[in-house]
Amino acid sequence: MNILIEAYNLCKSYGSVAAVHDFSHRFAPGKITTILGPSGSGKSTTLGMIAGLVIPNNGSLLLNGTDITRLPAERRDFGLVFQNYSLFPHMSVVENVEFGLRVRGINRTERRRMAMAALEQVHILHLSERRILQISGGEQQRVALARALVFSPRVLLLDEPLSALDAKLREGLRTELGRLLNELSLTAIYVTHDQVEAMSLGHELIIMRDGRIEQSGTPLEVYTRPETPFVATFLGSANLLDGECLQIQPGETRLRLPFVEVLAPEGAAVGPCQVMVRPEDVSIVDDCDSQFHGRVMSSVFLGNQARLTVTVGKSTLTVDTSNEEIPTPGMMVPLQFREAKLCVMPKGV
């Protein structure tokens, strides 16, 4: 059962502050779409509009082609998982899970059976009779997930569901959540400010900034081909350099950077531009293969790799290198760009 959600020009402002502006997107049916953005970027407001908890000022929301913009949240049949769990403190674990079935008038035995199955799905069947205050944060989030899934929601919406958990627990639960959502092939929309969650869970990724969609696409596309410097620096680390594309002769465009000139990537427009290169796409090479040299200003050992800060002329580059031979500050190192990974963006975006 693949549910298609389409948003057209959703707008929401609070007073004179526009929280979300012209949000249009077609959410991939049966897939997980992650919405990533800094706080205040409007991602939670967008989710609220999709959930029916926030009434948009403008725009429309379609569910399999039917307009549901004004349909109240309680009649949408969407599952919702919150950052702070929002479990009912006066009910036991299983009673919490049964809630959605209870308000749908499903009889006691049937709903108990379904709730127990949902608890088993999230591996906490043994906690069914506990009170909410007697279980840990990770267990509470599992209850919240079971509660949102038990009535077979048409769409599952998750608002930073793992943010309140500690790092180790978050990682484990993230993997499990990804597996579960993929098994169910539910249309899911997952809001987060954690880029690892956004990239690892999402089949599709939307980056928001100041209430607008900055870029959307598969996580790989967005990571390797950011369209704006904001996306480049927000998703992972990035070196941004000013450059210019010059047409040498028809069919040959060169990219001039402050300290080196390389063949321009295909499709790069002629004129001033900004160039993004990821730290992992600058390599320390043998002298004969090098495109330029840089002086190591600092090196930080990160366990699986080392991160160097290198100055080349007046520019500073961040370079990731293996942890085998870590250059020390002061050393000159021969460097090379992986030219295929250079990403050219128009200037002034």
């Binding site: 929002s86 009912f88 308000v103 205050l133």
Partner: protein, 271 residues
Amino acid sequence: MHRNIGFIFCLTVTIALMAMILLPLVVVVLGSCINASLLGLSTDLWSGSLHDILDFSAFGYIFENYGDWALFSLELAIACVAICLLIAVPAGYALARYPFPGSGLVEELVLLPFSLPGITLSMGLLATYGELRGPLLVLAGHLLYTIPFMLKVVTATLRSFDVGQLETAARSLGASFPQRLFLVVLPNLRHAMMVGSLLVFAVSWGEFNVSFLLNRGRPQTFPAVLYDTYTNQSIQISSAATTIFLAIVIPAVIAIQWFGGRESVEVEQGA
């Protein structure tokens, strides 16, 4: 060693204080059933049993002569509880859940009767609703003193956990407004309503000034029985009246402590 001395000092002070508070109550309770004149402690003209040391006839006298007063007071207190639940709970919910410009002021204004002497309040009520003087106006006076208790308990509880967030969760699960109210909001308010009801009951049961001033003729409220018997009757009879008064109010106070304690434990665990 110092700590021991400090501890003994504190314990002594506490015991002395407790004795100061409790001793009069013990004397009153004993005085209600012990024939003081037989012990040679009194020259009361009370004509109860002339032979028994232990003598409960004063209670019979109270029930016979003031039974309708006690009943009136109980009815008044129960009516106060019912009306407070009907008015102050929804009002508290509205104030806590949907604050509006000036709602803080409204909450403070509700507390105003506490800072006014009963006589001022009564005069105000008499001047405004003089023709209603009687049980109805007494009830109105009691409500002015009891609604703030219920309102405060309800708003404080609603603010101690995020009821709005729980309601949102319930909405997302498909619950309509009545379902959210009866399955989520009210169950989380049951302690607050219990504590509030007991407070309202105890305050109404013990209220004297307003009841005395706003009522017309008989029956008066039960605290007026105390006034009446202490001014006109023997110590044993007034002690019996006081004992009956305490028998009602003390369990209520203990229950408030008990429920209040449970409430704060739950809130702490929830936080």
